[in-house]
């Protein structure tokens, strides 16, 4: 497909912020000939990158992200940069400063987020595979809503060097693909230790707790949380039966603290974001708005350059970190995070995988949740536990509600992407 063909097919969807004029291969390897799209928060030297924010207007990446370097060496052809929520903050790409990405299955509906452009581009066949970033579900949720496979690897598995940071204790880069096999092929290329990201892990960091034995745990009370739609519940029950018919042992498990994952996430994430986004000040890169004085330049630039959701999260993060509230919110969220992580790690001594729906409902209509940030945050209920605990998780297409795709999510123990791939391929019939 030529750049013009991609642009023409993308017209109603708006998956791409830019389709590159001269896509080419930089090497020969396992991804030779694969056309890949990258999320707008991943740096590709000499190309615009902006995390879909006006504050990075005009910024051209001065180096390659480690993942881009690896893709180039493996022969992949990077075709363009995809739309997302500004600074990856959101669950619908409605927070992009450049307009919403529509769901290829229903153009009146959202593609999910924050990596909605990457999910929609793969779903619509505008590229073979894509990269996104996942801080609280930003790969898995849009993958589910667009009917493709989306993987969030173990925290530290993939280098974030060259990823515009949102919340550094959660962020991971991962692939979107039509099949688990293709997602695994991308994962194999982009993973690995990197001296430029000291949080990257080795194969030895997390020793295996158990051998794979086709056992799946279902946190029943969590899956039946308030707000989960009837069609998601029905599809989930069918997916459980499918795993059973594939020879998996299904166990109901109790994880009493899992329900706290979302509140924990929405304290720690804005706290980290408020600190990470301090670097956008009109001095180092991107937009600069002149004020009356040096410090006034910061106020002008940041007030004009950040969109409403980014402003909301920076201010909220500033609050939970401020004296007097730090102990009440941030300190308690960090303690609860340790508890949730311990609970999940104990679970994976007994079962190989945890199964949940990926989203509580299929894709909603553009604008439907506008003006109600809390409702939007609740869309992440089934995904944030993986970021909180560092665990790898994958979303698999599991059927439809009418014409709208649904997804199920498998979570594995730290370092056990192998279990996700085995079960994912069996579920998908690969």
């Amino acid at each position: 497909m030529t750049p013009d063909e991609i642009r023409s097919k993308d017209k109603g969807i708006h998956a791409f912020l830019e389709v590159f004029e001269d896509p080419k291969s930089y090497g020969e390897g396992s991804l030779s000939g694969k056309r890949i799209a990258i999320k707008d928060n991943i740096l590709f030297e000499g190309h615009r990158a902006g995390a879909a924010s006006k504050i990075l207007e005009g910024y051209v990446a001065s180096y390659d992200a480690t993942v881009v370097k690896k893709l180039k060496e493996a022969g992949a052809i990077i075709v363009g940069r995809t739309n997302c929520d500004e600074f990856a903050m959101g669950s619908s790409t409605e927070n992009s400063a450049y307009g919403v990405t529509k769901n290829p299955h229903d153009l009146e509906r959202i593609a999910g987020g924050s990596s909605g452009g990457s999910a929609a581009a793969v779903a619509a066949g505008l590229c073979d595979v894509a990269l996104g970033s996942d801080t609280g579900g930003s790969i898995r949720q849009p993958a589910a809503l667009c009917g493709v496979v989306g993987l969030k690897p173990t925290y530290g598995r993939v280098s974030r060097h060259g990823l515009i940071a949102l919340a550094s204790s959660f962020d991971q880069i991962g692939p979107f693909a039509k099949t688990v096999t293709e997602a695994e092929a991308i994962y194999d290329v982009i993973k690995g230790e990197d001296p430029m990201d000291s949080t990257t892990i080795s194969e030895e960091t997390y020793p295996k707790a158990k051998e794979f034995s086709k056992t799946i745990g279902i946190p029943k009370a969590f899956v039946e949380s308030e707000g989960v739609s009837a069609e998601v519940k029905k599809n989930f029950a069918e997916s459980v039966e499918k795993f059973r018919s594939l020879g998996y042992t299904i166990q109901e498990v109790e994880l009493p603290n899992l329900k706290h994952a979302l509140p924990v996430y929405y304290i720690i994430m804005p706290a980290e974001a408020s600190s990470n986004l301090a670097r956008f000040d009109g001095v180092k890169y991107g937009l600069k708005k002149e004020g009356k004085s040096g410090i006034d330049d910061y106020f002008e630039t940041r007030g004009a350059g950040f969109g409403p959701e980014t402003r909301r999260r920076i201010i909220l993060g500033t609050y939970v970190l401020s004296s007097g509230y730090y102990d009440e919110y941030y300190g308690k969220a960090v303690a609860a995070r340790a508890l949730i992580t311990e609970e999940l790690r104990k679970l994976f001594q007994k079962v190989d995988l945890m199964l949940t729906p990926t989203t509580p409902a299929p894709a909603w209509k553009v604008g439907e949740k506008e003006g109600d940030p809390l409702q939007m945050y609740l869309a992440d209920i089934f995904t944030v536990h993986a970021n909180i605990s560092g665990a790898p998780a994958i979303s698999l297409p599991s059927g439809f509600a009418g014409n709208l795709p649904l997804g199920i999510e498998l979570t594995a123990d730290l370092g056990r992407e192998d279990n996700l791939f085995i079960a994912g391929k069996e579920f998908m019939g690969e």
């Binding site: 001065s62 040096g294 910061y298 201010i315 303690a335």
Partner: protein
Amino acid sequence: MDADKVLKLADLGRIRISREEAEKLSHEFDAILKYVGEVKSVVPAAEGKSPVDFPLRNVMRGDTKGHESGVYSEALLSALPAREGSYVKVKKIL
């Protein structure tokens, strides 16, 4: 949470927002903080927990020789919205 407090926080975050936006945010924050505030109930159980298995750990960079001086300067300077030669251009503070 009231609008004045939101304006103060925005000030700390170096973001200029209008009073109208602060008003709107104050109501949204009330709802969000009520929701996330439930973590306070979890903490008694979390107290004394050892974060041994927790994946986050500090990694220090080795105290080794860095790169040659100046090799990345032009790439970084070229991204500046305002520069003067090899300097970052900012307003006078004195």
